[in-house]
Each structure stands twice: as structure tokens, then as C-alpha cells.
Symmetry: C2
Subunit: 408 residues, 2 copies
């Protein structure tokens, strides 16, 4: 059987992600990785989980129920918690606005299914989160790549994308993956104005929003839209759909993410979720709810303190050791520092040398560019190593880059 | 925002499932439900889970790792266990053939994405599992509904479907949902012959295969194809893709299912899985693996004994009390008895009366028919009630049907 001949056109179009291939190299325990956008497992709240399980096991009835099929929309107390956590006086969210998914990735899958016809144009930042590009690619859209600067999306370019008929904008406003940029308030307000001027839905991904190290980020696009529309109008007139996750602040293996969507879209998303996998894991949703309601503020505060030190170590070391020809800016949260190498330097080839000569890994930036380009960019993650290890590794990486820049 | 106007064509086509709406009615604790195809939570292996967790928590390193992102393809020991469990001397499966998914439902989602272009014709049994129809519907195929009798798919009708260009056949050969039928060996052999004659992939769903109450079912389609092809040819020439689940024999909230696929298709499925939700829950896969390797045979034997008594109670009561004008046959496994009421009797209206007069629920059969029809059919599940409750309820249901039949 030549399977290629029976594949759907969608399946033929989809490609293996570069990161996926990369992660296979990383199985080598000698390689020190700054590649994955993953939380540090040493910081997982496992003792809290143990306590929660013990409490849960004492309630035999609830414990058994936690292993049954659960409601497609999600575990009600968790949905209520999410609604309360992200509600504002203007949006007044409730559980009926919250669909629990298998991580934010499944939220994007369902949103793509709900909103994307084949070849439809969509607006994404340049660069953008690779996993989002991949899920959209599975529906063969036409990407309109919106240019960014150190503050994120550039408004003129975004308006051009809307004028070209973009079906939606996908954006990570806070500490973007991969670029580390945070949209300032005035751009957030402008995005909402443009969305309503051109009637374009906004998919706001807040994966890293809680991980701020200097100051809290500006109001989310959802909050900003609430203020723009005024009280109680979001349910009818809202264009912002917000996607969140427990993976970065709690633990990825819970596979708990969510979509906050206006009523007119919510029902379709719930049906698509049901068709996709019936429901998310009940037991994992209970664990997430218990973590969220009893332990999250303290836990996130601890994460902020520890990740901030790692961010500082990376930024300081890069500042000290990188040649001036390399551009980067310090992120004020999240997990990533984005480097732009001198024009003509290829980050893929640099990675080969980094692996070979320094046993270091990062992600070459080309894959984050929907329509090509970015060969001289790369992403570094500071989330999994202690400061001294980061410092030493960045010094060695900067040394390699300097050598490459001189020999070019 | 009128969301209807921005929805994709796929999203416009998908409908809420009748069962989903029904389950809302079932929130009424006074209603005794024979509707859901769900396992009895009182039989869940929760004490085994407690032991497994205790063991796991003692290995701090492994315990932390169990909450990290896991490999897209699944937890390797679980994939190895599944491969060994379903391998035969001819197919010689290994872990590379096994993709772990969020229950069999996600397996079907990924297979539909891999194989289905819009409007492509596909063959399904009449009646068929509703969740499969729903996931396929999300890609707007042309259903070719293959007629069945008490032994399942009718071969002449299946061949006609293949002649009409069906892109694949989706089938549950053992104790089918909803019909309860089991394909005899000669039909299984014929399906494999036809598949190879017309070069049509077969999606074999073995959700209920382990739940046999009289004798084990005939060899699976995967095994049958292995024998048909001969030693070591399945990887290159196999057309059977097998979909399994831990939901019926372990617990649904693990959200552990799997797809066994030949190498030529496997890689695409893995990429689609990655785009869909990155990976399944690592902790839940570990729990499933530990349950599978230490507790499953005893647990399944217990399930067989208890479910067999419930099956017997339902079949006996229906035999004793139903009028002769109602057709049903005793299933030799699974969870379902399928009733065909006298022509002209509407199972949806019967349900209303059953809820109203007897506080009983079942699933009207029309929704299981891809192209309409089946208004006089219904599905009863015997999995969640003890025998005496089943006996009394079936007597009352049969009484209601008799009254309806007389007044018609």
C-alpha cells in the first residue's frame, strides 16, 4: 500500500515540526538544551498533588467519579474558577463561556476547525509560535505574516493584513513565544479598534501571561476589549477569544487548557471538542482545579522568583559576551530570548556547530516564520537551567557566535 | 458579531449529537438510564490505582517526569505493551506501530484528518457508532451506509460500497456499538479479501473486544489480515488500521486510546497528533501502563463475570416481556442490546413516554443511521445497573412498548 496516494490533501500539506526532529537529538543526555519551551520539572507542585490526591481518595464516590467520562465542556468547578479568574466588570464571564481542552494546543485545533476554510487568509505574527503555525497549516490557510518590532506586532502591517481579508489574528500579547515581546497598552487598544473596524476575530493566547518578572503585563486583549465595548456587551459583540493553559504554571501532563469564547461561537467549539475526543480527563481537571484554588498564587510567585533569576542570568551573559552585531532584547517575562544574528549567518548551521563543539542546543528561528525567512534568528529558553549553568553556556554560545561572525 | 457568518463550512455542517442532548435530561437523578455506553464506575480499579500511585510517588524523579510534556507518539513502555498485546506471528507489531491518543475518539479524529477529503465517500455500517459518524461528519464526507443483519455487515452491500469508491470502511467487528452484532470469521476473511481487491483501508475499532461473555470473538481484522498476507508483510501491505481504548476495560478519564498503523501511515498520524494537542497526558499513560501490566487480566475477568449477569438479565427480561413484533438478538459481549420496534413506531416518541411514565431512558436509534432511517430502532445499555434493577426496568419498558404497539 502506498499510503501517500490515499492521504487527504490536508495530511499531505502538513510537515513534521523542526522542533520535533530536534527533540530527538536532545535525547542525548550530554547535550545541554535551551531549546524546549517547557517548564522545569523540579519546580512542579508534586507535594501539593500528593496532598490533593490523598484528600480526593478519602471521598470514595467523588474519587470513582473522577475516572468516568466527564462533560465535554469540562469539569464545572474548574470552568467556574477560570471564568472568575479572567472575568472583568465589563465582560462578566461565567462557566458557560469556558471550554476546557487538552492544553491550549487543542484550543487552537478546535478554533481552526471552527473558523478556517481551506486556503483562507489568516494573520499571524512574524515570528509566531510554531505549534500554532502547525495546527493552522493542517488546514492549508494562506498566512499573512505581520511584521514585529521589540514591542510586538506593528499596527500598520496588521491593518494591511485585515484589509487583505484575514479571517482572524492569532497573537500572544505577553512575553511572546518565540520573540519574548510584550505588546504595550496602546497597541492592544489599537488591535481592538482595528478588529472592530474590520470585523476580525482575535485569538489571544495567554500561555505566559502569569510569568512576569518585572511588572504585570498590560490588560489582556480580552480585558481591553471589555473596556472598549463597555459593560455587558462582550457576550454579544466580543471578537476576542482567549486561549489559556495550565501547562506553564501548573504541569503540562495535566493536559488542561481552555478557551474563553462568546456564546455565539461556544456551542460550535463544544461540539467540535466532542467530535474530537469526547472530553478531557476528569481526574486531571480535578487536580488542576484543586491546585488552582488552593496553591496557585504561592506556586506562581515561586516560579516568578526562580525564572526571573534565570532570565537575568541569560540576559546578563548575552549582554556581556555577544558581539554587537547580534540583536536581542530582554524579555520582561515568559521563557524566551530571541536572537537576530548578523545577516547571512545561518542559525541551522550554527546549531550543528553548537551541538558538535559545545554540546548546546537552541531552536533555529526559521520555523517560526510562516512564509519563510528568519534564517539568521534563533530562540533560547531559560526555563530549565540554574543561573550558573546558563551563564557558562551563554558565554560559550556567544564565543561560538563571535568566531562565526569573524570567519564570515 | 454574528458568528454563523464567520464559521468554516466544516463547522456549519457539524451538529450536536442527540446523545449529548439526551445526557442533559439524564442529570435528573430520578431517571434510570440505559442510554450511555459507559462502564460502571463501581467496577473501576481505584484501589489498584492507589497502589500504583504510591509506588510511583516513591520514585521522585519518575514521578516528576510523569507530569512533564511527553513524547507525541506516547509513553514508550505503554506503546511496547500494546504492540506485544496485539502482535501476531504474522504482523509482528512493535512500538513504532502504536500511537497513543486521547481515547479511541481522537484516533478516529486523526484518521479522518489523514484520509478524508471533503465530500469523499466512506463506508460505515448501518447502524454505526454515533461518535464515529460525528467525527467523520466534521469533514463532510459522503456516507455509504452498509446494511447489516444479526451477524453484522452484509458482504454484498460492502462490496457495492467499495465499488462506489469508498475511501475506507469504519467497522466495530466485535459486539458492535450500537447493534451488538459480532462478525463471524468467514465475513472477516471476506472483508480482508475485498479490502485488498479494491485497495480500501479498513478502520477496525476494537473498543469492546475484551468484553466477551460466552466465547472469545473470532480473530480481529488485523489478525485476519496478518494471516491473509502471511509473515512480515503487514508493515508494507497492510490495509487494516486498528483503534483501541482503555476506556471500557480500565477507566475513561485516563483518556488513553491508541492507533495501530502501518509505517507508511504512522508518521502522518503522529504529526497530526502533535498539531492536535502535542501529546497525551504522561501521568495517565503511566497509570494505564501499570494497570495493564499488573492488573488487567484479573480486572477484565471480573468485568466479564459481572457484565455477563447484566446481559443475561436484560436479554431474559426482554425475551419474557417484549411482544413478538419487536426484534432483538442477544449480544455475546459488549454493552448493548439493539431493538427494532414494529414498523411505524417512533423510538423518539417512545423515549418521551418512557421518561415521563417510567422514568427510564435509552437512545433512539435514528442517530446511528448515517443517511437517515431507523426511526423504529433503539439502543439499550446493560453496563451500569445490577440484574434485578435491569429486570424490573425491562419489564416496565416492555409493558410500555406493548401498550404502544396495541394502540398503534
Amino acid at each position: 500500500m502506498i499510503w501517500q496516494s490515499v492521504l487527504s490533501e490536508d495530511a499531505r500539506a502538513i510537515k513534521a515540526s523542526e522542533i520535533r526532529e530536534l527533540l530527538k537529538v536532545l535525547a542525548d543526555p550530554e547535550v545541554l538544551s535551551f531549546a524546549g519551551g517547557i517548564p522545569d520539572p523540579d519546580l512542579f507542585p508534586v507535594s501539593e498533588i500528593r496532598l490533593i490526591r490523598q484528600r480526593l481518595e478519602q471521598d470514595e464516590e467523588l474519587h470513582r467519579k473522577s475516572f468516568q467520562y466527564s462533560q465535554t465542556e469540562g469539569y464545572l468547578p474548574l470552568r467556574q474558577w477560570i471564568a472568575a479568574r479572567y472575568s472583568t466588570p465589563e465582560t462578566r464571564l461565567n462557566a458557560d463561556n469556558v471550554l476546557v481542552t487538552n492544553g491550549a494546543q487543542q484550543s487552537l485545533t478546535l478554533l481552526a476547525a471552527a473558523l478556517l476554510d481551506t486556503h483562507a487568509p489568516i494573520a499571524v505574527a512574524n515570528p509566531s509560535y510554531l505549534g500554532a503555525l502547525q495546527v493552522f497549516e493542517a488546514r492549508r490557510p494562506t498566512f499573512i505574516a505581520v511584521a514585529t518590532d521589540d514591542d510586538g506586532l506593528i499596527m500598520d502591517d496588521l491593518e494591511r493584513a485585515f484589509q487583505q481579508g484575514a479571517k482572524f489574528l492569532y497573537t500572544i500579547p505577553d512575553f511572546q513565544n518565540p520573540g519574548g515581546m510584550t505588546l504595550p497598552l496602546n497597541r492592544r487598544q489599537r488591535i481592538i479598534e482595528l478588529a472592530h473596524e474590520y470585523d476580525v476575530p482575535i485569538l489571544e493566547d495567554i500561555a505566559y501571561r502569569d510569568l512576569w518578572y518585572d511588572n504585570p503585563p498590560p490588560p489582556s486583549l480580552l480585558e481591553t476589549e471589555g473596556r472598549y465595548l463597555g459593560k455587558d456587551r462582550w457576550a454579544d459583540d466580543g471578537l476576542v477569544i482567549q486561549v489559556g493553559t495550565a501547562s506553564k504554571t501548573m504541569m503540562p501532563a495535566l493536559r488542561v487548557g481552555w478557551t474563553i469564547a462568546p456564546p455565539g461561537l461556544f456551542d460550535k467549539l463544544a461540539i467540535l471538542k466532542q467530535a474530537n475526543d469526547l472530553s478531557s480527563s476528569g481526574i486531571n481537571q480535578m487536580l488542576a482545579f484543586e491546585l488552582a484554588s488552593h496553591h496557585l498564587p504561592d506556586h506562581v510567585q515561586m516560579l516568578r522568583e526562580i525564572y526571573a533569576l534565570r532570565r537575568d542570568a541569560m540576559v546578563e551573559a548575552l549582554r556581556r559576551h555577544l558581539p554587537n552585531s547580534v540583536h536581542f532584547s530582554a524579555p520582561s517575562g515568559g521563557m524566551f530570548v530571541w536572537l537576530t544574528l548578523p545577516e547571512g549567518m545561518d542559525a541551522r548551521r550554527l546549531l550543528e556547530k553548537a551541538l558538535d563543539q559545545e554540546k548546546l542546543a537552541f531552536v533555529p528561528g526559521a520555523a517560526f516564520h510562516a512564509n519563510g525567512g528568519g534564517d539568521n534568528t534563533l530562540r533560547l529558553s531559560f526555563s530549565t537551567c540554574p543561573p550558573d549553568v546558563i551563564e557558562d553556556a551563554m558565554k560559550r554560545l556567544a564565543g561560538l557566535i563571535s568566531r562565526e561572525a569573524r570567519s564570515a
